[in-house]
Amino acid sequence: MAAETVTVPAEVVIRRIFDAPRRLVFDAWTDPEHLARWWGPQGFAIIDCKAEVRPGGVWHRTMRSPEGNVIRKHGVYREIVAPERLVFTYVSDDAEGNPGPPTLVTVTFADGGGKTRLTLRQTLFESATARDAHHVGWTSCLERFAEYLAKRAVDIR
């Protein structure tokens, strides 16, 4: 039996290089008209998109899946440093409208000479302060979880 891959439930980090200038990539993240064109998986239609891009401003996106399910995602902007950095909370509601656990998304946009190096980090923490204060302990703690979970993975199922 192949060992099951268990991802540590600390954070999601995704890095991408986009072949577009930083300003344009940042705008694509902050202008509702742009956002509605790309946000969400293939085949999902944005039926409502709001982005009050200022600290404390709210955002929400309502999407319709190809199967016709309506999904709502929302949060609050925490930090905006155009065109470098964007921090916002992110909550996904389930089908009944119950909010899921709050997460914090930090997106950084690095200038790469006409290209943009984007890093997205999504963590489980509600506040940036908590995340920063605990990041080190959290990481080493979770490394041990990873080992532990890897060992136990076969037993779980």
């Binding site: 268990v6 439930p9 999601v12 995704i14 969400g40």
Partner: protein, 119 residues
Amino acid sequence: MVIREMSPDRLSTTYAALADPTRRAILARLASGEASVTELAEPFDMSLPAVSKHLKVLERAGLITRGRRAQWRPCQLDPGPLKDAADWLEHYRCFWEESFARLDEYLGELQTENPKDGG
């Protein structure tokens, strides 16, 4: 992509339990094997009742189980909720990967239409 059929309440309980550094340290300790309350309290400047409170939170979240037979009721890590939490975050990863593919395409379109944009 479909919203997972996982109770948000249960995940919230898991995350609330994980949000505290002492509780994470306790879990890290338990990752290397079962331990008593006294053993778990040792590294902390904290009373036994305070540690017990943390253990109750972890137990309610299903992150640990307490032995019933032995008098010292050893604590053990239960990886189930952690795995659910990992699955749930993995759902977000898929969401971003797919969105980024579309963003990539869209940025291409924008620059073809309007090559002077950005800068």
